[in-house]
């Protein structure tokens, strides 16, 4: 053995080859160059900060009356005005953000988990498994999501938990399709075949080999799913199907909707909060997407 290797050129730890940065580094750089993505990141940080640190900086009970109903913003007791019960809007938005973001994140997790499971099995096994799973997916896609969620919430009651599950249960097909497409693409790559010939079992191939490779676009999808779920929750609340016992942005809008003409702030401000959050998530998502897109990166 040694006699042959001695004659071979030894490529050392500093290969002569091109030395591109590690993909993660490359990704970070591409992301950092994207101004709108950075703006999104900052906005997101602000919203998260408001929601999670806000209660310490602004310790006002969002459920108690601090002023007359419909006190306009800039008032003595409530900087952003009060709602129909004279409750502090700012405190409400801070408090509501937690539920909204929690619903958004949890629903996104549910939809992504279901979507990845369905999509990865369909994409990995193909054939009959794929056909059956895709029929199920198609089935869920032809039903208008909001209607289906409305039915689910009506049946199982309007609590944050059921709303979260309802949203998750109706929004997974998109993730599933994406996951399936990614799995189908990646499973054809030689390194998957190589792992199989290396003795990998299916579970290993699915979760350790293919899934990590399929993850970046799925992470983006998950992020966007959070935004979509927030909008979804707001929509349900607007239709009066929100959880009345937990303050959320959607609920604030839904409850104050009738007073829009007289107390614009009660509807506009939580709307703006949703808007900024979803916008920020989308900008960051787009930024990640662009940073992952090699075609754009090269430019």
């Amino acid at each position: 053995m040694t006699d042959t290797t001695a004659t071979l050129p030894q490529s050392g730890p500093e290969p002569i080859g091109p030395k591109p940065a590690h993909p993660v580094t490359e990704f970070m750089r591409a992301f950092a160059r994207n101004q709108s993505a950075i703006i999104g990141l900052v906005l997101l940080a602000i919203m998260l900060g408001t929601t999670f640190i806000g209660p310490f900086l602004y310790p006002v009970d969002p459920y108690s009356m601090v002023d007359l109903p419909f006190a306009p913003p800039g008032g003595e007791y409530a900087p952003l005005g009060t709602d129909y019960l004279g409750r502090d809007m700012l405190a409400g938005i801070i408090e509501g953000g937690r539920a909204t973001l929690a619903v958004g994140a949890a629903a996104a997790v549910i939809s992504v988990v279901i979507g990845i499971l369905v999509g990865s099995f369909a994409g990995f096994f193909g054939g009959a498994v794929d056909a059956v799973l895709m029929k199920v997916t198609e089935f869920f896609q032809i039903l208008p999501t909001l209607l289906l969620a409305m039915v689910l919430v009506t049946i199982f009651g309007a609590s944050l938990v059921t709303i979260t599950f309802a949203i998750g249960a109706v929004s997974w097909p998109q993730v599933a399709r994406l996951a399936r497409a990614e799995f189908m693409r990646i499973r054809k790559l030689d390194y998957v075949a190589a792992a199989r010939t290396s003795g990998a079992r299916n579970a290993y191939l699915i979760f350790r080999v293919i899934l990590p490779a399929a993850l970046p676009p799925l992470i983006v999808a998950a992020g966007l799913a959070v935004g979509a779920a927030i909008l979804f929750e707001a929509g349900l609340s607007f239709l009066g199907l929100g959880d009345p016992n937990t303050m959320s942005w959607g609920l604030i809008i839904g409850q104050n909707r009738n007073y829009l003409l007289d107390a614009w702030w009660t509807v506009t401000l939580p709307g703006v909060a949703i808007f900024i959050t979803v916008l920020a998530i989308s900008l960051v998502g787009d930024g990640i997407n662009d940073a992952l897109n090699p075609k754009l990166r090269r430019r």
Partner: protein, 521 residues
């Protein structure tokens, strides 16, 4: 937010577009409502949406003025027998249905029997045994016992005379004419665009000469009250009856070209209250119920939450009814009294100051009188150590299911008097009406022998004074027992475009014929 018309561009655009789509101003009345009628046959269907349409399309034996006085309508006169067991109606001559068929006593008989059999207000015509028709213009209503409520029950909303030749065949519930009605009222049905509007046209052969004034009535259905207000502000809508949104009323009061009035509606008598499940501890103890009554600042509700627009409600009978009394306990805001009552009842605060935890429901759909009041109570009752959990129902059926099956502690509810107490009041208090699974029966499960006695006597007492006495005692008992805490009368307003006169301001408000409504110059 006043109209912002100074922007020339906007104004120009508005003008251009407005010019394009200018409405034909010929004697048309556009009425806006948030209520969607399921159909137009008031003989078998209750509810404002149906009543409003039905009152225009069908005529009834009697109609009422603004002071609870019956007026001739299809019946030019009527006699009540001395024993109170028969009422004879003399119909106007020459009156016809919209299809040209004459109206006969047979139609009256058919209508009354149909209503008795099908109308949800079961007590309304319960004592009617038969209707005799000695001749085409005379109908004699036979009663098994005196029924003083009958005259009110002959109002347009409650007793539309429907043509037997149209509605007489088959299952009336599924009669296609329910959606394309043929009546004899001031307006003829033209078309119904599901969820958008229905159109009525002047009945040229109306039996009251010179009426109606309008050539055409269009009832536009706008589900969202904010939209309705906007449309009214813009002048797209001429009249909005049955407005109860406080903010909407206040906003329209400020609009330049719109008037708002609360005239009429006395007989509708919509009460907003908090009901207890009196069979469930600790609400089986009147002291607890009273304590809660004292702990609520009704003034705050009326002035702050309801913006001073709604009237106080002190008892089971609407305040404007001649049978109402205000000589009852008023439950003036008194936290000390509340706490002492609670102490008496043995509900002492725990470590967190909580004496009692309970749930409270509300009817979905009317947030101002429902959700807001309940939310207020949750905040307010904390002060006396009562912790309320607000249970929201996603929709009416869910709420109704809970309440009708006694699965509740407290609930906000709003129930209508519909004229005579026999029709709309008794049902809430008579112990024989404790019927599980039926909403708007005696869902409080309140039972008081004296109350049952009083109501039974009042139902057949033809002497108005004596009748009022009976009801007075009833009201005092019920308010003192507090199975229900009366919060407010649901305010009904009519908003209308300036220049519109002779609005329906009778005791029935807009659920009476609009035959006199007209544009002044």
């Amino acid at each position: 937010m006043k109209h912002f018309r100074s922007s020339t561009l906007a104004a120009a655009v508005a003008l251009t577009l407005g010019g394009l789509f200018a409405p034909a101003q010929a004697e048309t009345l556009v009425v806006g409502t948030t209520q969607v009628p399921r159909h137009f046959n008031g003989a078998i269907q209750s509810g404002i949406a149906t009543f409003m349409a039905s009152s225009q399309i069908f005529a009834s034996p009697l109609r009422y003025d603004g002071n609870w006085n019956p007026q001739p309508y299809l019946a030019k006169s009527w006699d009540v027998s001395d024993d109170g067991l028969s009422v004879t109606l003399h119909l106007v001559e020459g009156a016809t249905f919209h299809d040209g068929e004459p109206i006969t006593s047979e139609d009256v008989k058919f209508s009354i029997m149909t209503i008795k059999a099908n109308h949800p207000f079961q007590t309304m015509l319960a004592p009617v045994v038969d209707v005799e028709t000695p001749d085409p213009l005379t109908a004699v209503i036979k009663l098994e016992k005196p029924h003083p409520a009958l005259l009110l029950a002959m109002s347009p909303a409650l007793m539309p005379i429907i043509p037997e030749h149209i509605y007489g065949e088959g299952d009336i519930q599924q009669n296609p004419a329910n959606l394309a009605p043929v009546g004899s009222g001031p307006f003829k049905f033209v078309e119904y665009k599901q969820g958008e509007y229905y159109k009525l046209a002047k009945n040229e052969d109306f039996f009251l000469d010179g009426l109606p004034k309008m050539d055409e009535v269009i009832v536009q259905i706008i589900g969202d009250s904010a939209n309705l207000v906007l449309a009214t502000e813009r002048g797209d809508i001429d009249m909005v009856p049955f407005m109860s949104g406080i903010r909407d009323v206040q906003r329209l009061e400020k609009a330049d070209n719109v008037e708002v009035s609360d005239a009429g509606y006395d007989a509708v008598g919509a009460l907003n209250w908090i009901a207890f499940n009196t069979k469930k501890a600790p609400f089986d103890n009147p002291a607890v119920r009273q304590a809660i009554g004292y702990a609520i600042n009704k003034d705050f509700i009326l002035q702050r939450l309801l913006g001073g627009v709604a009237k106080d409600s002190t008892g089971p009978i609407t305040g404007t009814s001649p049978l109402a009394t205000d000589d009852v306990e008023k439950y003036a805001f008194d936290l000390e009294k509340a706490t002492s009552l609670l102490d008496e009842a043995g509900l002492t605060p725990d470590g967190n100051g909580i004496r009692l935890s309970a749930t409270i429901d509300y009817i979905p759909g009317s947030p101002e009188i429902g959700r807001n009041v309940v939310e207020y109570m949750r905040t307010q009752l904390k002060q006396v150590g009562i912790e309320l959990e607000v249970r929201t129902a996603p929709d009416f059926p869910t709420w109704a299911q809970r309440i009708a099956n006694y699965d509740f502690d407290m609930t906000q509810d709003s129930v209508y008097n519909w004229g005579d107490p026999v029709i709309g009041v008794d049902r809430t208090y008579i112990s024989s009406n404790i019927r599980k699974g039926v909403i708007w029966s005696n869902t409080q499960q309140y039972s008081n022998a004296r109350v049952d006695e009083l109501l039974a006597a009042a139902a057949i007492e033809t002497d108005q004074t004596k009748r009022a006495e009976l009801y007075k005692e009833f009201q005092q008992i019920v308010v003192a027992d507090a199975p229900i805490l009366y919060i407010n009368e649901v305010p009904f307003y009519t908003a209308y475009k300036k220049g519109l006169t002779h609005l329906p301001d009778t005791i029935w408000g807009a659920v009476s014929p609009w035959d006199q409504v007209e544009w002044s110059e």
